[in-house]
């Protein structure tokens, strides 16, 4: 192949990929945002209501924990199908990237709750006790002590969440969510254009690498331990 041809070939390939890439980033960004907005309070409540913690309430803890476990044990693809009707209510459609954000956020939410729970449990109890002895309120302990101390782990946890949602988003693409997953299926699977399939995989690998790298750097920046 001549080099001019090669360039125009690659250019075409990128042109095919580009809109899907943007769709994927759009889906992943907003799904992460909403799943953290929902999952963060859930994770916090799971920690502070646990035995011996600052707002011990074993009943609430047990109920929430059970819900989270059930939600996490449902396979994602089934969850999407089950939740898609909800998208119509919330965003008015069940097709496209915007519609996919609804099931993605909800599916990732229990995962985020557990990730945040784990990170917050890592905070040394002595530090929380010291804060109590200084007369800190529950909210002050959550936001000025626990979250700040757990920041490096929280960032790594959210990085993991983003990468997971990226994977989920490819599945959502398969049932009309758009994005790179959708592209891979349409070109790679239905039209046998292996080159598009490979290019999609490469782009996904690069995306994951970038996200993980950025997450690691950011986490280190907050880690003074």
């Amino acid at each position: 192949m001549e080099s001019a041809n090669l360039y125009s070939y690659l250019f075409d390939l990128l042109k095919t990929l580009y809109p899907s890439l943007i769709e994927t980033i759009y889906m992943v960004f907003f799904s992460t945002l909403f799943s953290v907005i929902l999952g963060l309070p859930l994770g916090i409540i799971l920690v502070i209501t646990s035995k011996g913690h600052i707002c011990e309430n074993l009943k609430v803890n047990k109920i929430l924990s059970t819900i989270v476990n059930i939600a996490r044990s449902i396979p994602f693809i089934i969850l999407i199908i089950a939740i898609f009707p909800l998208s119509r209510i919330i965003v008015g459609t069940t097709i496209g990237s915007t519609a996919a954000i609804v099931p993605l956020s909800i599916a990732a939410c229990p995962f985020v709750a557990r990730i945040i729970e784990n990170a917050l449990f890592e905070v040394n109890w002595g530090i929380i006790e010291a804060s109590l002895s200084m007369g800190a309120t529950t909210l002050q302990i959550i936001f000025k002590v626990m979250i700040k101390e757990a920041m490096p782990s929280l960032i790594l946890g959210i990085t993991l969440t983003i990468i997971n949602i990226l994977g989920y988003s490819a599945m959502a693409g398969a049932i009309g969510g758009g994005g790179l997953g959708d592209l891979a299926i349409r070109y790679g699977y239905q039209r046998f254009q292996t080159d598009v399939l490979i290019a999609t995989i490469l782009v996904l690998i690069i995306l994951v690498e970038i996200i993980q790298y950025a997450g690691n750097i950011l986490s280190k920046k907050f880690d003074k331990r």
């Binding site: 040394n124 002595g126 530090i127 006790e129 010291a130 804060s131 109590l132 002895s133 200084m134 007369g135 800190a136 309120t137 002050q140 000025k144 002590v145 700040k148 101390e149 920041m151 490096p152 907050f222 880690d223 003074k224 331990r225």
Partner: protein
Amino acid sequence: MIKIVNLSKTYKHGNQNFEALKNINLTIDDGDIFGIMGLSGAGKSSLLRCINLLEIPTSGEVLIDDTDITKLNGKQLRNFRKNIGMIFQQFNLLMNQTVFENVAFPLKISNIHKSDIEKKVNHLLQIVELEDKKNSYPSQLSGGQKQRVAIARALATNPKIILCDEATSALDPQTTQSILNLLKSINDELKITIIVVTHEMSVIKNLCKNVAVIEDGQIAEIGSVVEVFSNPTSKTSKKFSEDIFLSSSTKIVSYGKLLKITFIGDDAQKPIISNMVKNFNVDANIISGNIDIVQNTQLGSLIINLSGDEKEIKKAENYLKEHKLTVEVIENGIC
């Protein structure tokens, strides 16, 4: 004044109960440095933590300046706790925040104005001699420096009481001494009542004025440090008193000359002291003595108080040195 009345604490573990504190009655005066000592598991920490209600007593009262703090509601208790600083064995600093931010924390949560916080924190860092570490993180500090940060933090809200739970147990002897000196000067200059929990004799004898010995959740002995350790009656205080009067920093008498004489091996059996008294015109008053077997060698040490004519004392001292005894002047009350 802190008054603990009929305090008991029972921990519940499933359907098992453990009575960690049994009917404790205790009064601690303002300005005291009060030691709570005992063996591991005796209930020292439990008792200390009842004073700021980190541990809720099962029954009894904790009166601080006539307020029974067990009766306060959540908000009142939080405000009350600002009068009581606490420092811990493991320092418990915020690891992802600077020294400055750590000391500022109790002020920030009290919604104090930023410029006031800055002034106060700088002043506190000066007291604990850490101005140059203001922007360091705890992981960049030594154990002693971390404890100084914790002390500055405990002082931030101008407390009347500071509780210390094994505050020096993670530190080496030298650093321990510097922290004890700091606590002593805080007590002296800021008139803050200090309550220390410890299993280290050096803390009791170098820092505390009064002491309570806890055994199996009960007060076995209570009184001034000298009272308790000059006539120890409980198992614990007997064990701890073994080395107390042999320390060079103990102040026992303020007249005459206080000498610490150390003798090794066969010298331990010779009547050197009585010969000294016969030969020189001095009085020797034995304050304390002890003979230990250290690695198969007798190691004795004696603290005596010499009084009499200055020249005679000097001669007596030389006599001891001629007999190859190690003589250390603890206190020279003559000059």
